[in-house]
């Protein structure tokens, strides 16, 4: 029983982070209508920055976020202006190829700098345990979960209740009408993209203590975010959150119970296919 509770709570933690990643992807998609195949790699960059800060400078990953997030915001802004903006009206296939290339570039750069050795990150919370009744949880994942939910809620608030958020919604619904109303569409797109990259810069260091760092870890994260994004119903905030939890839970449960264990990584994808069949418009949306 203890193990099951443990696994479930771990699944929820994982799911919260997946939901956050998918939300970042979803908001970028809503204003650009393009998918970024380097999405997960950007989070891995965040993890390695935390690793580097810890080993080279002795800074705790949680503290390093204060520097990493703004740094990644700036990098994201430049990345959008230089790489994405010129090809926004290009066919989807072109954008997919370019972002895949970006993914390979990021992975190769990480490989060059950090080698292919598996790395781990330690924080002040490493080894700390929180007790909730019968459940004992490592402190780091709980922090990652809480931070993910807080960030998702903050994003929701900004989009729904600020002037910038209204512009984001306007650009998402009708780019030309927004431009005619005086909205600088490319600036909105670049800001949203940069914010999403910054969120990866926050999530990366938060989950790094729970992961084994490896330069090619990004593609898996990208695919999982795509799945959660689609499962959630493209632009449904709550749906994305639920979908993230579903995928996180299925991943952790299958890692324990799936036989043969080699098939465990396939389970989230199987669940994805099943949901596509029964709820093609998203977990919380009824097909009309």
């Amino acid at each position: 029983m203890d193990t099951l509770l443990q696994i479930i709570s771990q699944g929820l933690v994982l799911g919260g982070v997946y939901a956050l990643m998918a939300l970042a992807l979803a908001i970028v998609y809503s204003v650009t209508h393009q998918l970024n195949f380097a999405h997960g790699d950007l989070m891995v960059v965040g993890m390695y920055l935390a690793f580097w800060g810890m080993h080279a400078l002795g800074v705790d990953p949680y503290v390093a976020i204060v520097v990493i997030a703004p740094l990644m915001f700036i990098a994201g802004f430049l990345l959008f202006r230089i790489v994405f903006a010129p090809m926004l009206s290009a066919p989807h296939l072109v954008v997919i190829q370019v972002t895949l290339a970006l993914s390979f570039i990021v992975q190769s750069a990480l490989l060059l700098i950090f080698t292919s050795n598996f790395q781990t990150v330690h924080t002040v919370l490493s080894g700390k345990i929180l007790r909730f009744g019968p459940v004992m949880l490592a402190a780091a994942p709980v922090l990652a979960f809480v931070a993910s939910i807080v960030l998702a809620l903050a994003a929701y608030y900004v989009i729904r209740h600020t002037e910038f958020g209204k512009r984001v919604l306007a650009v998402a619904e009708d780019r030309q009408a927004a431009a005619l109303a005086g909205v600088n569409v490319v600036l909105v797109q670049a800001s949203v993209f940069a914010a999403a990259v910054a969120v990866m810069g926050i999530a990366g260091p938060l989950v790094a203590p729970m992961m084994v760092l490896q330069p090619s870890a990004g593609l898996h994260l990208t695919l999982i975010s795509f799945i959660v994004f689609i499962l959630g119903g493209a632009n449904n905030y709550l749906g994305t959150l639920v979908a993230g939890l579903i995928i996180g839970l299925s991943e952790s449960l299958s890692s324990l119970y799936m036989r043969p264990p080699e098939l465990a990584p396939a389970v989230p994808y199987l669940i994805f296919i099943v949901f596509l069949l029964v709820r093609p418009k998203g977990v919380l949306e009824r097909a009309s």
Binding site: E163, K166, R167, L169, A170, E173, D174, Q176, A177, A178, A179, L180, A181, G182, V183, N184, V185, V186
Partner: protein, 234 residues
């Protein structure tokens, strides 16, 4: 105020606008008329910056704005009400109006502009919290015009504001344009409905197959045998 000189434009390799020259003088209502597919909307896209012309120049208040982005053009005070209203349907009426107030030049006037819009369209004041997508067609057109007015336009450009509206409501919309003009607003009106548009205009241009086929004072155009025959069914 607005001068187009030798504009050529099109999509892909297809030329839609062929050498159009026209001007809109301050304080007037000018109509750009023509059948479906004559190139009216394409020409407006060039004016508002949605599309870059192949050749020619767009001048607004003495500044060459050719190739500027739409938000830069709006910042100068040239504001377009797009065809089909194109509201942000999932946002409230108020949010739609406030989005129209994005140009920096218009922001300090937000309160007065909002008052002006609500006194012109009192129904919008009552429905300010309603989602724009749930309004009737006529009310949506009011929001579309109101959104443009929130940008403090010097030149208001409207792309077929009467399309899809009942005739009486279309007439009402045109009446509002006349009122705005009386208060000093310059208006460039694009219409398929030639008779109605000419009735409130000072001057008209008739676009056929991407070229200006006719241009004259509105009064003269209304009695021009070519206009009567081709557009007014007389």
């Amino acid at each position: 105020m607005l001068e187009l000189q030798g504009i050529r434009a099109g999509y892909g390799g297809v030329e839609i606008i062929r050498d159009v020259t026209l001007s809109v003088n301050e304080g007037r209502v000018v109509s750009l008329l023509g059948a479906n597919g004559a190139g009216k909307s394409t020409l407006l896209s060039v004016v508002s910056g949605l599309m870059r012309p192949w050749a020619g120049a767009v001048r607004f208040m003495g500044t060459n704005i050719t190739g500027w982005r739409p938000d830069q053009v709006a910042e100068e005070g040239l504001i377009q009400v797009p065809q089909g209203r194109r509201l942000f349907t999932k946002l409230s009426v108020m949010d739609n109006l406030l989005l129209g107030n994005t140009p920096r030049r218009a922001r300090p006037m937000r309160k007065q502009l909002l008052q002006k819009v609500f006194s012109m369209f009192p129904i919008l004041d009552q429905r300010r919290e309603q989602l724009a997508g749930t309004l009737s067609g006529g009310q949506q057109q009011m929001v579309a015009i109101g959104r443009a007015l929130m940008g403090a336009p010097r030149l208001l450009v409207l792309d077929e504001p009467s399309i899809g509206l009942a005739p009486s409501i279309a007439m009402e919309v045109l009446g509002h344009l006349r009122d705005l003009n009386r208060d000093g607003m310059t208006v460039l009106l694009v219409e398929q409905n030639v008779a109605q548009a000419l009735s409130i205009s000072d001057r008209g241009y008739i676009l056929e197959n991407g070229v200006i086929a006719l241009s004259d004072e509105a009064k003269a155009l209304r009695h021009d045998p070519r206009v009567l025959k081709a557009y007014l069914g007389v």
